[in-house]
Symmetry: C2
Subunit: 455 residues, 2 copies
Amino acid sequence: MKNFMEPESVALIGISRKSGPGSFNLMENMIRFGFSGKIFPVNPNSDEILGRKAYPNIRAVNEKIDLAVISTPRETTLRILEDCVAAGVKAAIVVNQGFADADSLGKALQKDMSEIARRDGMRILGPNTLGVINNYNGFTTSFMPITKEQVPIGLICQSGIFFVGALEFSRNIGKGIDIGNACDIGFCEALKYLGEDPQIRIIAIHMEGVNQGKEFLELAEKIVREKPVIIHKTGSSERGAEAAISHSGSMAGNYQVYKAALTQAGVTFLEEDGQMVYAVKTLLNLPPMKGDRVAVITFSGAAGIMISDSLERHGLKLASLSPETIEVVAQLSPDWMPLGNPLDIWPAVMLNGTEKAYSMALEAVLRDHNVDGVVCVAIGPEIPEFSFLDVSEALKEVTEKLPDKPVAAWLYGPNPGEIGEKFESTKRIMVYPTLEVASWSLSLLRDRHKVLARI
Amino acid sequence: MKNFMEPESVALIGISRKSGPGSFNLMENMIRFGFSGKIFPVNPNSDEILGRKAYPNIRAVNEKIDLAVISTPRETTLRILEDCVAAGVKAAIVVNQGFADADSLGKALQKDMSEIARRDGMRILGPNTLGVINNYNGFTTSFMPITKEQVPIGLICQSGIFFVGALEFSRNIGKGIDIGNACDIGFCEALKYLGEDPQIRIIAIHMEGVNQGKEFLELAEKIVREKPVIIHKTGSSERGAEAAISHSGSMAGNYQVYKAALTQAGVTFLEEDGQMVYAVKTLLNLPPMKGDRVAVITFSGAAGIMISDSLERHGLKLASLSPETIEVVAQLSPDWMPLGNPLDIWPAVMLNGTEKAYSMALEAVLRDHNVDGVVCVAIGPEIPEFSFLDVSEALKEVTEKLPDKPVAAWLYGPNPGEIGEKFESTKRIMVYPTLEVASWSLSLLRDRHKVLARI
């Protein structure tokens, strides 16, 4: 994978002379992204592309080429791959569609492509792929613009959609590999690479179908001991499975078998789109949860009830708080206030102020031996004059002192984005868009603990 | 309810002399919100509050008072209510906690409160309530700041949390009634009021428990013929049901019985927090869906597979597109492109531009007799130079021409907010945060059609 992820010289074959909006010119994107190695554009109809000398074919380059990126119509692809072999290129990315994702001719072409890889030892990524992203050395082959951030998150996918930013996911990719139709390089190699990469601490996977199922499971089972592996396996429906064949030529396989086997291997298994971004930030930043007993701190009784419901839906339960914990909050509350779990601290807030009530309650539940994790309902005010309701600093201090149990927060009020970033800035409290997602996230941390405990 | 929702004169009993951030002064909030009627502050320790003459007790006011809002410690509440009766007040809101939500003394106090209402004919809202919002005449009794928008959406809840803005829900309230512990006014009266209100076209309800179950069901069944009624019933878990008793003194009842009965009555039944805002905008703006056959337009094969999965999870299915529809897109696509449903139009976009490919595809599926509704995966670009990917104008034109089938969109890319607002501006296409929620929303429209069809 090194030639793909850290090439020093790249040939771009079939690169367009058009640039700017709408041209989807991957050379332009690669330069903008910050690739500092050599780029050799190859286009028989041009002497120069984006200010660099263009070559009529790859053999004319006559320099060492680590990686060829091919985006030409499918009729020409095999010939070009053979040219690459002849030019001594060891790695190629085939960007274009029209292979196993298309008709019978496309399937035959892809079969020949696999054969070139097998016979001539040149590794091929794709076809039907945006290729790679490596934010640690500023390299990408994506023709879509992507954001750059050096986060320790590795992505393997079968669609460029995950590169560019579903639900801001792109902000969360340190290194990404789109295996596309996977004619040669598949999930196993990509997973092994990211698994061994010290810059990567968590691996997110979008999977339509996997060959080498047994090998993949063994590998995943080994890697999850070191790093969480999260898989969104699509194609649970019959029609979705059919569509997977048409999209990436993947056999989606029996979904329930996948689910059982991957879960058994210790993988975090996702079923719905939109969950990945929350699963990743949870498992990357919060500690595993050692049991299923959750304390709830809330200023709203109604929210407390909703959390009770969602905890049960996700296999967790309300902790029985110790008398010492109850006593801390009772001291802050009026006599008539019934206290339990959920711990309703609104009267305590009214009597003592938000910061004091919240930080004392959080410290008490984090010290409570009957508690494994916490859901905290706080306030994310939009209105500047209500900024005194912002308890992010106070709660961050508490979690710095007591970092061993996960704290999931839900912020009440419109536009809680800015306060949310303050909460998350020390990575000890994560913020979720709903109580449902907050509860679900704790259940992932519970499962993660079980995986680590079985070793 | 008129005295509560449209009072001309209000006495505020137990109002604080403190104002500004942290004081939660409901008089200050009421004035800021724009109430133009008379306000009589009542506080025995002050001659003037916020520039208005204060009275030692309500009998000293000696003017007609439509509504008394009482926020005093519970020990004083019954005496004050009797004062109100003596002063001829016909409606009172009891804001404070500490009644059926608290200890046995609180329960006894609330029982006496109900008795005052029954015996003396004064109607009481609460206790333990933020009271009301009426954005159509600028009136609120909430002590928390709330946003104002005259939308035809009515809310009934048992917690102020829904007033202030869970997930920006507050922006979507035209009129709101927080029944709190419901010592007198309950769900039935509130529902009847909003059901008959011509300014309200949809009713959203947060319910912990309901007395008068039979009466409520009959009323709901009648109102859903005119307006959608959406209920988030909390307390599905045993512990949540227990917490409901402690929060609003509500008997949560058997959750599955509630669910079956309410669904049978034609109510849209929600189970998770965060769903309400999407359910409301869907049922308010999009037409009911006459069948379960959904066309999917996508530029991403991977997204198409995920939609197939989520449609199946929500009881819908992929439409079998007519040959005419396929032909329209085939004309725009390369020969090798396999076309079906999901309709992958990326190659068509590359060859013909985004606007042409999207609008022709949408028009074709909306005209297709095999299609009842549409999920459209479009692009919400963050980057100005990619604004040519914005198809909101083109698709809005198509839906203006063909408004009879619902179109749910999911926008790809980071920060799709601004483009989302453009999509939604004519209220013919609604935008959802995930494909899962988009599919689920169509299922609500399918159910809505069934409710209307059975009449």
